[in-house]
Symmetry: C2
Subunit: 192 residues, 2 copies
DNA sequence: ATGTATTTTAGCACTTGGTACTAATACCAG
DNA sequence: CTGGTATTAGTACCAAGTGCTAAAATACAT
């Protein structure tokens, strides 16, 4: 016994958290105890067996994959869109979007929702943000549902620019607003 | 045999790709064949067994997790920081940051790097973005290494504001610039 | 129809990484 | 020495397979 049982179990927890892919046998030799001891430890700490641990990791991944697919294309979910006119999206603020310290959403998530909505509303192959002025009016908290509206204000056909206003609200209160100047390859109504 | 072997194997591939968590037994009953047939099919198609599949998903996840953890705290990696003075971060643009269509980075990733650097440079418990004006000067492509510098320009102690200029470059060429107005709880040098 | 080939099924031994349980030791304290 | 905790050993069993052999079913051709 190098150190107490408690100490070993503490290390065991850490080790497994750090690398869930480790077998009891590996753990046993690492801690210089028998496999049975490791099993007993796992039971006491209610740490599931290797396969379950792997499965857990895999399942977590799977959720994320499903979640990040639309989340990659547009931040938030588009609920209404009239191309080159306006668009509406909602975005539920979760734990992973906020500062742990105070539960306030990181600015770039709100920006991302607004920006990707601005891209989406443009009826074109290519739409890029050129400039934007944004104001974070009021802190957004975890659990808030942010509703964002993008309205196409106008276009400069010569410069291939589209101007979009974006307004985000939570419970009808403005939390974020911004103006986006977007570049696009073809103007509204242009033919290929 | 409802349809040919080929057809079954095609469906088998799809089914497993869609849901890798399925056992041979489940597949057998789903396709109305014996477990052995499924095993043969998997061999011919060189699809690994359930546990291997799960492990693969888990391992893929693990990579991502390591990637997304620092990516959540600060977008990009901070390579130098002088609190309340300036900070420097690098961000390698990968496939997942760009539009598939043209390989150009989505604006909000550049914004996120700039924004999180602006948050990081502030030596305070709480730092929130109030306003920002940003310009996307030049498209950033996959593979580019974006170097972003944040410089604290000034403070308004009465309003608890800090003003930060951010400049991002790729190969010494400016690709993005922005001004950030940040809210902070305490001013530089203030004591608790 | 008969023969040959392909496909499918069955059965058995063996593998990993375990669980569940029992029993034997070892160690340490009073 | 006796008791209690900690550790180890050993057995039976499980899931979800692999690997292998062999039989049965089906298809296809002549």
């Amino acid at each position: 016994m190098k150190r107490t049982k408690k100490e070993r179990q503490r290390l065991l927890m850490e080790t497994i958290k750090e690398n869930p892919f480790v077998t009891d046998e590996q753990l046993a030799s690492q801690f210089g105890v028998s496999v049975q001891t490791i099993r007993l430890d796992r039971m006491e700490l209610s740490i599931p067996e290797l396969r379950e641990r792997i499965k857990d990791v895999a399942e977590k991944n799977y959720e994320n994959e499903v979640k990040s697919l639309p989340l990659d294309e547009v931040i938030g979910e588009i609920i209404d869109i009239e191309l080159d006119e306006k668009a509406l999206s909602i975005f539920d603020v979760k734990e992973e979007h906020v500062f742990q310290r105070n539960g306030i959403a990181r600015g770039h998530h709100l920006f991302a929702q607004a920006n990707s909505l601005a891209v989406a509303v443009i009826n074109d192959e290519l739409a890029l943000t050129v400039k934007s002025n944004v104001v974070f009016v009021k802190p957004v908290k975890v659990g808030d549902r942010v509703i964002t509206k993008a309205i196409v204000r106008g276009q400069d056909h010569e410069k291939n620019r589209t101007y979009i206003d974006v307004l985000s609200t939570v419970n009808n209160e403005t939390v974020f607003k911004g103006e986006f100047e977007m570049y696009r390859t073809k103007g509204k109504g242009d033919t290929e």
